[in-house]
């Protein structure tokens, strides 16, 4: 008589034997297998279930509060994916976006200068003097910078949560990095004339990370993504960008530019 294998006995304990009736019949007839089965059941019954520490009733709310800021609106998200180069063939669209950003920033600076000169001519010497003590207002630049930081923040969140084992994530991340890199350099160039060290430092860090992501030799493999995540965390870049963005959003909302730096 063939004895039951341990695997068959385990299947029987968990109610997943291929033919439970046949196993039961055998157990009834074979004392040796019945003893093994009883021992197995006793062993497994002795293994306690690991009880998870209790979470209070608000745990789900806290989880939601933690992740909600990282989630884009779905409809908006889809539009962004399409327009920012995530879709197949989106690299050209990305270049187009970068060029558009560059034109917009340049146009904003030019418009700002013309407007400033005209305003100075119109104003009386006293008013002109007052004007010189106030920082410049260039709301268009603020909007462009806000948008750039918004996109950068989303990119950093995606990088932070990138599945290192998923090759599908690598190509979109690289494409997005290339697009952002071009826009970031335009912003850096324009901000070089200002006096906002925090913003300049953040854009420098961002530039470094984007350049490495965009130009990683051999493509973005799991090791490279893990290293970039480490670099991002070490620089505290996501936090830095979020702080700057909230600052700029506040300025945009206030419609004023009271801080040092003039151009934002």
């Amino acid at each position: 008589m063939r004895h039951l294998s341990e695997m068959e006995l385990i299947g029987q304990v968990y109610g997943e034997a291929d033919s439970p009736a046949a196993v039961e019949q055998h157990l009834a007839a074979c004392g040796e297998c019945a003893a093994s089965f009883a021992e197995l059941r006793r062993d497994l019954a002795g293994v306690d279930r690991v009880e998870a520490p209790a979470r209070d009733a608000h745990y789900g709310d806290r989880v939601w509060a933690a992740i909600a800021p990282s989630l884009p609106l779905y409809a908006k998200h889809k539009r962004r994916l399409w327009s920012s180069g995530w879709a197949p063939g989106g690299w050209l669209r990305g270049l187009g976006y970068a060029a558009a950003v560059a034109l917009l920033v340049a146009g904003a600076f030019y418009a700002g200068r013309i407007w400033e000169q005209r305003e100075q001519k119109k104003q009386s010497p006293i008013a002109n003097q007052q004007h010189q003590t106030q920082p410049n207002r260039q709301p268009i630049v603020v909007v462009v910078l806000d948008d750039h930081l918004d996109r950068s923040e989303r990119f950093l969140v995606q990088l932070k949560h990138a599945d290192v084992d998923s090759a599908q994530m690598a190509s979109p991340l690289r494409d997005e990095a290339r697009t952002l890199l071009a826009a970031n350099r335009v912003c850096r160039k324009n901000l070089a004339q200002t006096d906002d060290p925090e913003l300049a430092t953040a854009l420098d860090h961002l530039d470094s990370l984007l350049a490495e992501t965009a130009n990683e030799p051999g493509g973005l493999n799991a090791q490279a993504i893990a290293r970039l995540q480490e670099q991002m965390n070490a620089d505290g870049l996501l936090f830095e960008v979020r702080v700057l963005r909230s600052r700029i959003t506040d300025r945009k909302a206030a419609g004023a530019n009271p801080a040092k730096g003039g151009t934002i």
Binding site: G11, Y14, D43, R49, P53, G60, I67, Y74
Partner: protein, 190 residues
């Protein structure tokens, strides 16, 4: 599928991000429980829950309307927890020597004697059981937790781990074998 879950998913896909909050609130406790059982660590389990919901949100467009959201997000959480354990073990350098191990080529981790999970079980038996659980490979441990503690079928375990049901059955089998061998001294003592 739960009608509430289905309605929430439709709302999210239509642009109502807040609707996802209802899904998060509804399923967080279940995900935390399984994540904790797999990772054996409270902080890791909380990370896993957040990561699972983030991944779920990103993949929501691919979610089939006929499927069950709780099963779907549960699988994602199991996958995240498994990744977490594998990554954690990858970071650890120690290897405990069970020279008769069936899978000599698989990395094993030293007992997490100081881990918070250990403190939750009192006495020597509980400690030995946890040590035995930690001695399993990440896949075996996950398969065993799902089978023995979460009452999942091998088909469900296979789906959650992304492996063939037969491979899942083998993983449970190996886990039970190793657990019994590690816990054999208890049998003699009692």
């Amino acid at each position: 599928m739960d009608r509430n879950d289905h309605a929430a998913i439709q709302a999210v896909l239509a642009g109502d991000k807040e609707a996802y909050g209802a899904l998060v609130v509804r399923h967080s406790h279940t995900l935390f429980r399984v994540a904790y059982r797999i990772t054996g660590n409270e902080a890791d389990a909380e990370d896993v829950v957040q990561e699972a919901f983030l991944r779920g949100y990103r993949k929501l467009e691919g979610f089939e309307a006929r499927a069950n959201f709780s099963t779907w997000i549960y699988r994602i959480a199991v996958h995240c927890a498994l990744d977490k354990v594998k990554r954690r073990r990858g970071d650890e350098t120690s290897r405990v020597g069970d020279t008769n191990d069936l899978e000599q080529d698989q990395v094993q981790v030293a007992d997490e004697a100081a881990g918070p999970d250990r403190l939750l079980l009192s006495g020597e038996i509980g400690a030995m059981q946890l040590a035995a659980l930690h001695s399993l490979t990440a896949t075996e441990r996950t398969a065993f937790v799902l089978r023995h503690m979460e009452d999942r079928t091998t088909a469900e375990i296979g789906a959650a781990l992304g492996i063939d049901p037969n491979a899942a059955k083998q993983a449970v089998f190996r886990a039970v074998q190793k657990m019994r061998r590690r816990l054999a001294p208890l049998r003699v003592a009692t």
